[in-house]
């Protein structure tokens, strides 16, 4: 298939999903890029998934306007093309969700629209991308490049695409990643009809920023990572707009009070470290953050111990424990200020790749517990069933989880991969 056809096809498909100026600009750019390389693109690869996800809540809603249960449809195709024997490539991953209960959860995003160039000792990525940093399981503390798509799930693993220019320098002494991040993505929040939200709806149209450039502040990040024998280490620094907002109560306007997200400028230094010793994985993520608010440290660290061939079967059983700490304590915005996570991961190693991860995060002062179960199983070659359940218990009045304490739910996903 020729590059021209690719470009038109990519542009047309992207046009359907387009919703922001950023997207259109990025798209135009990729179209130009592809068109400028006639006949070079070797193939267009299309894959992805579509699915239906009913989410059932155990209790009646806490706040007026919330709808009891919801059902979602989700679509995430992926378009990939490469040329120059894979040295150049473009990846486009739009995402769409349609939700029955919450207008805000119905959303479009460009997870990735990324050009990549690979050379022997460097790699360049430009466009909208997604980057993961970290080692821990219960919380992804160090991971900061992408904003959390918080309306997707409460686990913080779903991310919004981030505009970026990323140069990776690959040396014997490690990889240095330089990031220039133009354009800030606001965190997504549930709308009035949605569960799993604060008592007041977050007004994302009136977000305020410490930077006078608002959401156009250019952020920077630098990371060094290396693997040495059983050690995998990453050191990073980020300067820019905090991905986690503070909330300001706005009562000046007529009507019910609303919450305004306030995004500060922060400096954040971070370490992520894993030691892999036979059956033991020892993990630590540590951050120091300073900005307009008080500077603070936070960490998540612990282990995963794997029993291979558990109880004479083909299964692997993993035992996980992690300590979560935030120096801002109970007064701070982080619900995991001094908590213990304990979990079990069971992988049956069967043909269907059946897996279960069950865990609890327990506040060490005896307050809230968060229970979580994630399970998945493939059906045939192209279908997958997923189950996800989250339950809160003993949530006290002052706890950040208070507003969602009655939002225990179970979600089933039926996904079709193509």
């Amino acid at each position: 298939m020729s590059a021209g056809v690719n470009a038109v096809r990519v542009a047309r498909l992207a046009g359907i999903a387009a919703g922001t100026g950023l997207l259109s600009a990025g798209l135009l750019w990729v179209a130009v890029l592809l068109a400028a390389l006639p006949g070079r693109a070797e193939s267009l690869e299309i894959s992805g998934y579509a699915g239906i996800e009913p989410r059932l809540f155990f209790h009646s809603p806490t706040f007026a306007g919330q709808i009891h249960d919801n059902i979602s449809a989700v679509l995430q195709p992926e378009f990939y093309s490469e040329w120059n024997a894979g040295r150049d490539s473009v990846l486009f991953t739009p995402f769409a969700r349609l939700d029955s209960a919450d207008g805000r959860r119905t959303h479009l995003d460009v997870r990735e629209l990324l050009y990549q160039r690979v050379a022997p000792d460097w790699e360049l990525r430009a466009g909208i991308g997604k980057v993961f940093w970290g080692v821990a399981e219960s919380e992804h503390l160090v991971d900061i490049i992408n904003q959390t798509d918080a309306i997707e799930d409460v686990d913080g693993e779903d991310k919004l695409g981030q505009p970026m220019l990323n140069l990776a320098l690959i040396r014997d002494w490690g990889t240095v990643d330089l990031f220039i991040l133009p354009g800030f993505r606001e965190r997504s929040f549930a709308g009035s009809g949605g569960r799993l939200r604060q008592s007041l709806v977050v007004d994302t149209n009136n977000s305020s920023y410490e930077s006078s450039a608002g959401d156009r502040h250019v952020d920077y990040a630098l990371r060094w990572s290396q693997s040495m024998a059983q050690w995998d280490i990453g050191l990073s620094h980020f300067y820019g707009t905090s991905r986690a907002p503070r909330f300001v109560l706005d009562t000046r306007r007529p009507g019910p009070p609303i919450l305004i997200p306030r995004y500060d400028l922060i400096h954040r230094s971070a370490l992520d470290l894993q030691a892999t010793m036979d059956n033991w994985l020892w993990k630590l993520e540590l951050i120091h953050e300073s900005g307009q608010a008080d500077s603070h440290v936070a960490w998540v660290g612990g282990f995963e111990y794997t029993l291979t061939g558990f109880a004479g079967t083909r299964a692997d059983l993993g035992l996980l424990a992690e300590h979560l700490f935030d120096s801002r304590g109970h007064a701070g915005p982080n619900p995991f200020q001094n908590d213990l996570f304990a979990g079990l991961r069971l992988a049956l190693n069967d043909v269907q790749s059946s897996e279960v991860l069950a865990g609890v995060i327990q506040d060490l002062r005896g307050d809230a517990s968060l229970f979580s179960i994630e399970a998945s199983r493939r059906l045939g070659d192209r279908w997958k069933l997923e189950l996800e359940a989250r339950l809160w218990s003993r949530v006290k009045q002052h706890d950040p989880f208070k507003a969602i304490a009655r939002d225990d739910y179970i979600q089933f996903s039926v996904l079709r991969y193509f």
């Binding site: 790699e123 036979d278 794997t306 991969y417």
Partner: protein, 276 residues
């Protein structure tokens, strides 16, 4: 590949770049010079000849189809691509990329094997864009739900086992040497393996795996060999039968390519992240 000690070459008298047409003659010569009296020594020497003769291919890329069959004969298929880099004085590096089932498409597995110390293994999870260093104590665990364990598929360094030559016997009309090998590394699922080595190719053509209770667990047959670069014999088909569960797995290898100029950079964590 483990660099061979000088005395091995002296013992085996093996000439590395033997002309293709005299492969059989050279094999027989290798065989003749191997110590006939001590079964332990003879077993080790056979392993060294196998290793020695499979040295120098530099890098290898293949496509792999895995057919998993349960006791009822129901089939499940996986498509993978495997790239391997020969590493001198250490175990090989390999990068395995999953194409199907579609829900794991883009998942990739990077492995640095070592002779005795634990292998280094990383998994790339495309949904999260996460590179995860994983435990290497899973050697006995099933690979992708198949009847192949991780340890069956990693590079077979000489130091990974202790050897005893048992007997010479014909197998399907070919002359084979039967060697018993016992894993010297930790976390193996086997007490021992019996290996039938075809002396024409100096490749294992049949392996019996005995579990931790020393009962016969699995039998592997490798067939449809082709010689590449005039030297390196590779099977197109490997069939593993699990006698205890009645399940089986077939590996169908195609598109063998050698010496395509891959280097260490194609087997690092950056390469893992962008493996497609």
């Amino acid at each position: 590949m483990i660099r061979l000690l000088l005395f091995t070459a002296l013992l085996t008298g093996f000439v590395p770049e033997a002309p293709a047409q005299s492969a059989l003659a050279s094999a027989q010569e290798s065989l003749r010079k191997i110590d006939q009296t001590d079964p332990g020594k003879r077993g080790l020497e056979i392993a060294r000849v196998i290793d020695r003769r499979d040295t120098g291919w530099q890098d290898q890329s293949t496509s792999l189809v895995m057919i998993l069959r349960n006791r009822q004969g129901q089939e499940s298929r996986r498509d993978l691509r495997v790239k391997t880099l020969e590493v001198e004085a250490d175990g090989d590096k390999s990068l395995t990329i999953f194409d199907t089932p579609r829900d794991v498409k883009g998942t990739a597995f990077l492995s640095y094997t070592h002779a005795i110390r634990a292998d280094d293994q990383w998994l790339y999870l495309p949904a999260l864009k996460r590179v995860k260093r994983i435990t290497s104590s899973n050697k006995s665990g099933p690979f992708m739900g198949s009847e192949f364990a991780y340890e069956d598929l990693t590079s077979q360094e000489v130091e990974k086992y202790t050897y005893t030559w048992l007997r010479d016997e014909p197998l399907d009309g070919a002359r084979t040497l039967v060697v018993e090998r016992r894993p010297a590394y930790k976390y193996s699922g086997y007490t021992r393996q019996l290996v039938w080595v075809d002396v024409r190719m100096w490749r294992p053509v049949k392996v019996e795996y005995y579990d931790r209770k020393n009962s016969l667990l699995k039998t592997l047959r490798s067939t449809e060999f082709t010689r590449y670069l005039d030297r390196y014999w590779r099977p197109a088909k490997m069939s593993m039968i699990n006698h205890q569960s009645g399940k089986s797995t077939e590996l169908l290898w195609t598109n063998y390519r050698f010496r395509s100029g891959l280097g260490a950079r194609d087997f690092d964590r950056n390469a893992l992240k962008r493996a497609r």
